[in-house]
Symmetry: none
Subunit: 407 residues, 2 copies
């Protein structure tokens, strides 16, 4: 079954809003074994009709988001009625429902609201628990169109409570779920991953192999109709990639770290220079991170490294702030100053200034210290784009913690 | 001139990534007086060719993002060559450049990289300062296609340094620029802003008023063809909104804070609990922030507040970690422990657990301490969604620093 999504909204095409509907619906549909084949954004107005005609020629299931409101540029309802050849019928009970919502919020209703009570002949009405415009489902013999309101706070509950259950019932027996494994890999480029395994994976049978690369890392996607085959491909990939895989599915590095630390009953402290608090902030994005994270330092200046982490001024003088020795001393200082089991330290040159020929912008030293255990140090040359640099450095720092927790 | 954008990437249609390119490019094009008429997302693979053919039939300027990498699913280059009827030519100097990038990072290059050195005949090559795949511009007599890499950290600098200057030159004389003022406002909702000024602004003449709302803040956009009129509208809005405006244009709160602090020759220290390092991380996203930021603490646990910021255990015991008294003591402790002129402290309940009827999830206390000056404290109830909560709290914390710097 071919699925397409039409997102309407001039604000999307002006860059004033970001399309979060595509991702939300795509994830929900994937769970039914359906994949979105194409998505288009058109401005409010007549472009909706053209996009609908095109989608109808290709797809059997079409979602349209937005354009269901009461104002003059809300024409999704009319466009669908026209393209599907359905008359629009007035439904008094919808208008009564809208009137009740206005009354309960002590607002006056105006005549424009009446447009929202028009339903293409034979259409299914989806209740809008958080707004006035109802959703609609309109069918021909070959095509289903599902019309959902634009505000995410209205669309999402309507998908959950209305559209999803309707689809499940409608398509019962017709769905052929696809199976997917996503492996998240740090420290290997996408071509390296491809060379390591793609030919062998494809030789197993019908498996789609996809890559999504980000700076310093890549997601490997294995998709296919046969669960046993996808599992086999996943096992093959895990065997080849080993501990370069830091998570599976939609799990983030920081979630992995918090999960592993909680499971091991260990706590982590951070001592950051060039990442400026990003490692701590990412850890504390995870619910319940307070169980494993208690102390963090952002020692951006040398004086802060000396007074807060107890680093000897002579050490800084001799080796410089960006060095294995300083990273190690920062991690050891964080252990001394806290009750943590592990401490991670990062020090580097984020740029744009501060680099030298010997220590260029992008250079970072990491240290991972264990209570009553050895200290690991690591050096990397990362992006010279400041925010990318910080993200990559925080990712490697968290990965060192992850590796210490699984070792 | 009709503009369309084709975003390629199976991950977008699977809901594994969000499309941020559309908004970014739309905003940049808007500055040139160009509006995006349609955007389509297609999976990696042959759908790109079909989407290109359709766009070519309608548009004069087509952007394609993604699919320029070295792996088997990267086919944008081939698709454009095919649809535009251009041969692909190997460019040794591109491969040499890629080889140099690999060498500088001590990585081994493999044969797959060679694909990235192929250029459609007569095409313009856009340098990729932060990755390997170059961008490309391919033209026919009627249509321009601009191919940009998928990673935002590569696309954005390439747009700024390569595609935008090229377009400006190419379209010189053909563009009818629009004028725009964007005011970024914290602490007033969009309907409040609308009621404060929209009628009066519109009475000035042809000015388009737009709002882009985010949790706790809103961007006000004033757009029109007449620069004098847009300026006048801007002045009117500034008069009405006063110091609720924290920045203009694309400037961020953290950039404003670093700019003001550098201008005043003041330094700032941070003492964070619930924001977990996010305030420090946002400050250190700004180049040259090391001039104004030297010391930061992430005192997530009470013990850390006691040992690192010198807070009296009795104070914590009596008032709790989330209180005006603790926030004040944290900010004062950060001043004592550093050489900063200002210290900002944040303590609150990010959730999902830890709330009580008296102190619910979302409650935050802020304190801003000045060396030899008064301490301000502030209480807010923010979102109960963890990451939104952290962002809103960091925004208010930075705003307190901003207000202290302009006072």
């Amino acid at each position: 079954m071919r699925v397409e999504i039409i997102n309407t909204g001039t604000e999307l095409l002006l860059g004033q809003a970001t399309n979060t509907h595509l991702g939300y619906l795509a994830q929900g549909l994937f769970g039914l074994g359906l994949r979105v084949e194409r998505q288009v954004t058109v401005p409010d107005g007549p472009a909706i009709t053209a996009a609908l005609r095109e989608a109808m020629a290709r797809a059997e299931l079409i979602f349209v988001t937005g354009g269901l409101g009461p104002t003059s540029d809300d024409i999704t309802r009319d466009a669908v009625a026209e393209v599907f050849g359905k008359k629009l019928i007035f439904h008094q009970e919808i208008l009564d429902g809208i009137a009740a919502k206005f009354a309960s919020r002590h607002l006056a209703m105006n005549d424009l609201q009446r447009a929202q009570a028009m339903v293409p002949e034979g259409g299914v009405v989806l209740d809008n628990a958080y707004g006035t415009a109802p959703g609609l489902i309109v069918e021909t013999e070959r095509v289903i169109a599902i019309l959902l309101p634009g505000p995410p706070g209205e669309l999402r509950p309507m998908w959950e409570a209305g559209a999803l259950p309707w689809l499940k019932k409608k398509l019962a027996g017709r769905l052929a779920p696809v199976h997917e494994i996503t492996l998240r890999i740090l420290g290997l480029g996408e071509t390296r991953v491809q060379l390591l395994l793609e030919d062998e994976v494809k030789a197993l049978g019908p498996i789609e192999v996809g890559y999504c690369a980000r700076p310093g890392e890549v997601d490997l996607r294995l998709i296919g109709p046969d669960p046993a085959l996808v599992r086999k491909a996943g096992d093959l990939a895990r065997g080849r990639l080993g501990d370069a895989i830091y998570a599976e599915g939609g799990v983030t590095m920081e979630e992995t770290v918090v999960l592993l630390a909680r499971a091991a009953g260990k706590t982590v402290a951070t001592a950051e220079s060039c990442t400026g608090g990003l490692v701590a902030s990412r850890i504390t994005n995870v619910p319940h991170s307070s169980e494993i994270f208690r102390y963090g330092w952002v020692t951006y200046a040398n004086e802060a490294k000396i007074t807060e982490l107890g680093i000897a001024p002579e050490l800084l003088e001799k080796h410089g702030a960006v060095s294995a020795e300083t990273a190690r001393a920062m991690a050891e200082g964080a252990l001394r100053g806290s009750d943590a089991d592990l401490a991670i330290a990062v020090t580097g040159i984020a740029g744009p200034t501060g680099g030298t020929p010997e220590k260029p912008v992008g250079l970072v030293w990491f240290a991972l210290a264990r209570r009553d255990g050895p200290v690991d140090t690591l050096q990397r040359n990362l992006s010279t784009q400041r925010e990318t640099f910080k993200y990559m450095a925080s990712q490697i720092a968290l990965d060192l913690v992850r590796r210490a927790l699984v070792a």
